[in-house]
Symmetry: C2
Subunit: 415 residues, 2 copies
């Protein structure tokens, strides 16, 4: 058996034992994991330095090196996340709904773990702790498949987490690193049918394509983010400026950053020029349609491609629309179902936007940057689902469970 | 554009309009559909007779002809189902959960329709009404792909449903029959990516295999049913007999019929012989292990294959186990996650069985035959999910929706 299938089999074998852990055991383990990361921070940073040095030698970009680098404050963040996960209600066994049938049967819908959850992710060592914590709390065995760039960091983190969890009665293999970082080993994981119950690919378009083409295990697509901010006719101008500045520039490289600004023509004349000045001051390149250029001549001509592009950079496509309906159509046509925001003072517009815009998260008068498990209060996230089945938007504990039926009778048979 | 892609495109185009229908409109339409089926029953039965006659001429089995045949009482059943669907709460817009974040953001998880739901099914015309009703109530556009054997019946039923729904303000294409019954047209439907949001194949192993191999649209696997009844040491003997008789013989050809009886050795001696006599009287062939044969010598030798076989016939595999744990292991090893039952008087055994048996539906002291949307009170079902992602067990309205986030702010930005 290959190394990859070996860890998959071990995870599947002990998944029932993980599912049966009590909330108390899981919470004690999560708090012990949080403390252990802090206690052993110096050692983790030392191991992480090996990865960082190798990445530098390989000419890795500064952005990626920033994401890879562990610091005391990042480790504190990982620990804080684990403690928030511990503070949440245990989803396992939760009775979501229950009702009595006329024949006396009591039908309950009850949350249960999925079994084995695997995550493929990039060189962000904090994801290792996030995924391990959410999987443990939701009663799932975790398979972590990090990037080769972060191998030393991930090995060190998993070792710390495993030791802390095992001491509290969690089976050692409940949290496992998937060996290997080759394309072949990723394929093995994608095709471990019957062993892996959910695979979440947290990566770029190439990984998603590979999953769609090759995976035989159930998966959830994560993270495309062509996010929109729509500034309605009734928007508060200052609030609109604050939100688009934040959504575009606070961290342009992530999936919940805004990529397109849609503006109602009734507010464009008095507001758009000033707002674009502010964005330009922050170094944002503006690509606009004719009407944008008329109001702000420095804009580059937007092409059809711009409406569908996730720049992940300091570039913003800007479009002026004649109506609310046109705005909703544009967002639904080009959005990727991650996060869309409306800035408005009009209740009817807010209510229509929230129900008609078909996205995992819709924000009224708030930045798209809040589309995030931590910001929603989950302590961490397993990813952001941009599909419709099973879960949409930031995936916390509930997304790592599904609901099954438990039916209680006193001898009922069917006539 | 092919005929299949044409109906898929039409469904996708109007899905937002179906999603926005009010509960009142949907309920009026469902009741009008129910009434129209009854009013036009004679005409439906006439069209159905064409299908039945053709099926007879083709030498179709009596079981399949029974399923195909419409009668006044079956049509009344379809109408009753539609009325029960109308009586249920509108799932669309339901706020499943909501909480306030420290920064004042109100995060809500809200049910939304999936969009376009397609079902491929066999020659059971009642499924046409069931699927149409559930899809409409849950705000989804329905694509119905019935069997060639039932073409005339399905066309007639859809026409009646469409006319009744349209008169109440539902878009005409909200309920569409997918044209063609060829393998190629099924493939087109399976690969209508971006147009079909959920495909449910209600059919045999061949259809499921084809979906798994070819589908590029999201799907949910329906219906394998290697269901178990476990008779615990503490079972009430009469109740155990009643339940296994019902689960095995009330309708052996369906997926929630029991296929294996697992018996604790402490009750086997005093109970099993008599129970197997009763089953044999009903024409059930018994395949047992050594210990079963010792108690009931007429049993045929069970082979390893028997434990994994869904007979869908008057055959029952029987196994005696030494412990509760052995019973749970057997059920989890060979079960298909459809429906499993325990007969027991022991609370601890009941609680352990419900949490440790990993199945879509687990029954305590009730027949597996209740694993059914109608029996759960849903009025109908879209299928029975035997997978873990999105939905498990009988799929009613909630399984045709997913939860998305609506977040309300007053200008919040991320620091």
């Amino acid at each position: 058996m290959s190394d990859v299938l070996d860890v998959c089999n071990r995870a599947a074998d002990l998944a029932p034992a993980v599912a049966r852990l009590t909330g108390e055991t899981k919470n004690r383990a999560l708090r012990a994991m949080a403390a252990a990361l802090e206690d052993r921070a110096a050692g983790l940073i030392e191991r992480n330095a090996e990865d960082v040095e190798r990445a530098r030698a390989d000419g890795t970009s500064q952005t990626l090196i920033d994401r890879l680098t562990l610091t005391d404050s990042r480790i504190a963040g990982m620990s804080a996340g684990l403690r928030i996960v511990a503070d949440q209600d245990d989803p396992v066994g939760q009775v979501v709904e229950g009702w009595k049938r006329p024949n006396g049967l009591l039908v309950e819908r009850v949350r249960a773990p999925l079994g084995v959850v695997a995550v493929i992710y990039e060189a962000r060592p904090n994801v290792t702790a996030d995924v391990a914590g959410l999987c443990l709390k939701s009663g799932n065995a975790a398979l972590l498949r990090g990037s080769s760039t972060a191998t030393a960091s991930n090995q060190a983190i998993v070792k710390v987490l495993q030791e802390a969890a095992t001491a509290e009665g969690v089976p050692a293999d409940a949290i496992q690193l998937v060996p290997g970082t080759s394309r072949e080993s990723a394929l093995e994981l994608m095709q471990a049918k019957g062993l892996v119950d959910l695979l979440v690919p947290r990566g770029g378009k190439e990984l998603i394509k590979s999953i769609e083409d090759n995976a035989t295990v159930p998966f959830i697509i994560d993270g495309d983010g062509n996010c929109h901010v729509y500034v309605d006719a009734s928007a508060d101008p200052q609030m609109a400026t604050d939100i688009i500045l934040n959504a575009k520039t606070q961290r342009p490289s992530v999936c919940n950053a805004a990529e397109t600004l849609v503006v109602h023509n009734e507010i464009a004349g008095k507001w758009l020029g000033g707002a674009l000045d502010r964005l330009a001051e922050k170094g944002v390149e503006i690509r606009g349609d004719e009407r944008v250029k008329a109001l702000w001549p420095d804009a580059v001509d937007a092409t059809e491609d711009d409406w569908g592009t996730e720049y992940l950079d300091l570039v913003l496509a800007v479009k002026v629309v004649d109506s609310f309906d046109e705005a909703v159509s544009h967002v639904n046509r080009y959005g990727t179902s991650n996060a869309e925001a409306i800035v408005t003072g009009d209740l009817a517009a807010a209510r229509r936007f929230t129900s008609e815009v078909d996205s995992g998260s819709v924000f009224v008068n708030a930045s798209t940057r809040f589309s995030d498990g931590g910001e929603f209060g989950y302590g961490a996230e397993i990813g952001i689902s941009t599909q419709k089945l099973h879960a949409r938007g930031p995936m916390g504990l509930h997304a790592l469970t599904s609901e099954r039926y438990v039916v209680w009778g006193e001898g009922q048979i069917r006539e």
